[in-house]
Amino acid sequence: MVWAWLIPVLSFAAVPLIILFGKRLPAKGSPLAILAILAGFAIFWVVFAGFLSASPDTEGCEIGVGTEALTCNFKITWFEAGIPGADTSNHDRIEVAWGMTIDPLTIAMLGLATFVALMVQIYSLGYMRDHDGNFDPRLDWYYAFHALFIASMLTLVLADNFLLLYVAWELVGLCSYLLIGFWHERPEPREAAKKAFIVTRIGDVGLLVGILLLWSQVGSFSMTETFAAIENGVLSDGVITVSALLLFLGAMGKSAQFPFHVWLPDAMEGPTPVSALIHAATMVAAGVYLVARAFPLFSASDTAMLVVATIGLITALGAATIALVATDLKRILAYSTISHLGLMMLSLGAFGYTAAVFHLLAHGFAKALLFLGAGSVMHSTDELDVRQMGGLRRVMPVTAILFSIGALSLGGIPILAGFWSKDEILVAVNKELPVIFIVLTLVTALFSALYMARAMFVVFYGRFAEQFEHVHDAPKTMSITMGLLAVFAIVFGLLALDLPGPFKGIGYFIFYHEGHGLVVVAWVMGLSTLLAIAAFIFGYLAYARRSINLDGTRGTFARVLEVAENKYYVDEIYQWTVDRVVLSLSRFIAWVDRALVNDVGINGPGDITRVLGDRLKYHVTGYVYTYALAMALGLIGLAIFWWLVSR
């Protein structure tokens, strides 16, 4: 288990090697990155096995504070400062350690991150070529950034103290900037990269202030000590709430929660495998991970939990409505990610710790699969507008099947992974929160099944779009990786069941306070299953049996209505709902995006600071006597102040 630190370090080590020697190595050094993460994945299994066989008696292990789960800590001191020998708790001393925590949450995230990263990196070997099969000219940089990205994420996951977590957090942000803006010759990726960086950094300010606040109260960055302090009632309720909310600000930025979600759809400008990595396993997962990691802190404050749940719900519902009407395949997936992240936050806010982490994993596999599938489509067709596509299964059967698996899984069709995790979330929300939450969550679940059905049927089924006649399916590197992910998207959910053997099911592995088996609330499970199946049937009828109209989304629905009116009354309802509710809601959210968040929230502070700087600069007039006058005025201020104070 101690060797877990090798997992990120190997990938870190690959970065300079690729940068320095990549040009001279075969495939521009990309095998280095892949080997590093492959070794990391192997080590993960060793660590996992070690952890399963560990007990509280094992060296470095104990029953975790707050979580009550087995937690193993290893650390070496990075630097110490302050008065030598003094106690850290009375603030005379800072001790900062490089340390790692291994607990079920870490294990889960390690597994997800290494696996998805491995898949994505192999996939990229096929994706980052032009149509003649030549590698991208900057493939070495691409893989170096990838390795750095995943190494930072793994560090973040392993960190046992908030400081190291923050460092890794920032590195993740930096890497996302580099990768989203990878094709910086075009203006959109540049802008998108800048936006992602700035928006998340705004959240990061909150995170860092929150960390400092906790430190100033606890006297240590160590998570264990912080949680112990909360447990022992050292911190006041106000401090707990404020610091939890500050941390949540950071999580909102990274996990694209409303109103910080604006960077994520734009981040689609990056290479598609990068999107898969960002959406499934690294950047956006970091926010959810942070809240889960700091769960002892959050759960100690009802206010913070309610805020988390509410923001999560708003995000989930709002993003789902946009996903329903978006026309760009990658953007549909992007809004779907935002929506599902919202669900995870909602679940955390509803004390559904297991459900949230479980959904994070299930969603991660499925979403990586979907993105890689979309990348495959895009790679073959150079097209992203779903209105231009149709019936692609004829030319891309493998991609079609795999994408459908991902869509069904995420849509919540029973037995597939997404079904189980979504059900767990619904149960948690039903148990802990007012009834309005469960109602809206069910609506979100319905929407998410609907937009997945739409994406899947519109693109791959229905009338074949003739212009794609000579399109080929994905190359082997791409289809094999997608296939592996698909296996997980199908079977992973079965972990929710109470299994025989040492693992016993996910509820006994990842838990907060106490393990529990699968909780089934019959009406919830029945209703959500019904909604999901209905949504897919509707999607099939509406999108697959119909060719797609080119008049835009509204037009699509108009034609749907026209054809189906005789048969399905439900279509009219749906049409009405789409027209009146969904469209206006998504228009409203889009307006919030553009007008409020983008112009006021993002550009606003930027513009204000720029204008401020522009105005402020004129105080340096270039005339030396102005400088003297400023000094004299400062002097008067100083003298008067002290003269008053001294009396």
Binding site: Y618, V620, G622, Y623, Y625, A632
Partner: protein, 106 residues
């Protein structure tokens, strides 16, 4: 007998006059002269204190006079170097007026 405070108020007034000169004059030469006035205010203060504060400090009471010697030294050096820079300025730009010397601003 003139009390210490009279010298001190006089020096404060001279200091303020010099400060006004630095802030209000256009010619760099005049600004340097004004700074000389301020330095003289310092010296008045130091020397007055040196002769009035007998044995108050833990050092010899005439330290003020010694400090004043240093101040005069620095003042002389400042004038010398300042004039050299002003001369160079005049040669490069044909002016020594500080309100015409603002190539660099903002």
């Amino acid at each position: 007998m003139v009390p210490l405070v009279a010298f001190q108020v006089l020096s404060a007034a001279l200091f303020a006059i010099g400060l006004y000169g630095v802030m209000a004059r256009r010619s760099a030469v005049l600004i340097v002269m004004s700074i000389e006035l301020m330095l003289n205010a310092v010296n008045i203060n130091l020397i007055a204190a040196a002769s009035h504060l007998d044995g108050m400090g833990k050092w010899a009471n005439f330290d003020g006079q010694i400090i004043a010697i240093f101040v005069i030294t620095v003042a002389a050096a400042e004038v010398g170097l300042g004039m050299a820079i002003i001369l160079r300025m005049y040669r490069n730009r044909s002016t020594v007026n500080v309100d015409e010397i603002n190539l660099m601003k903002w």
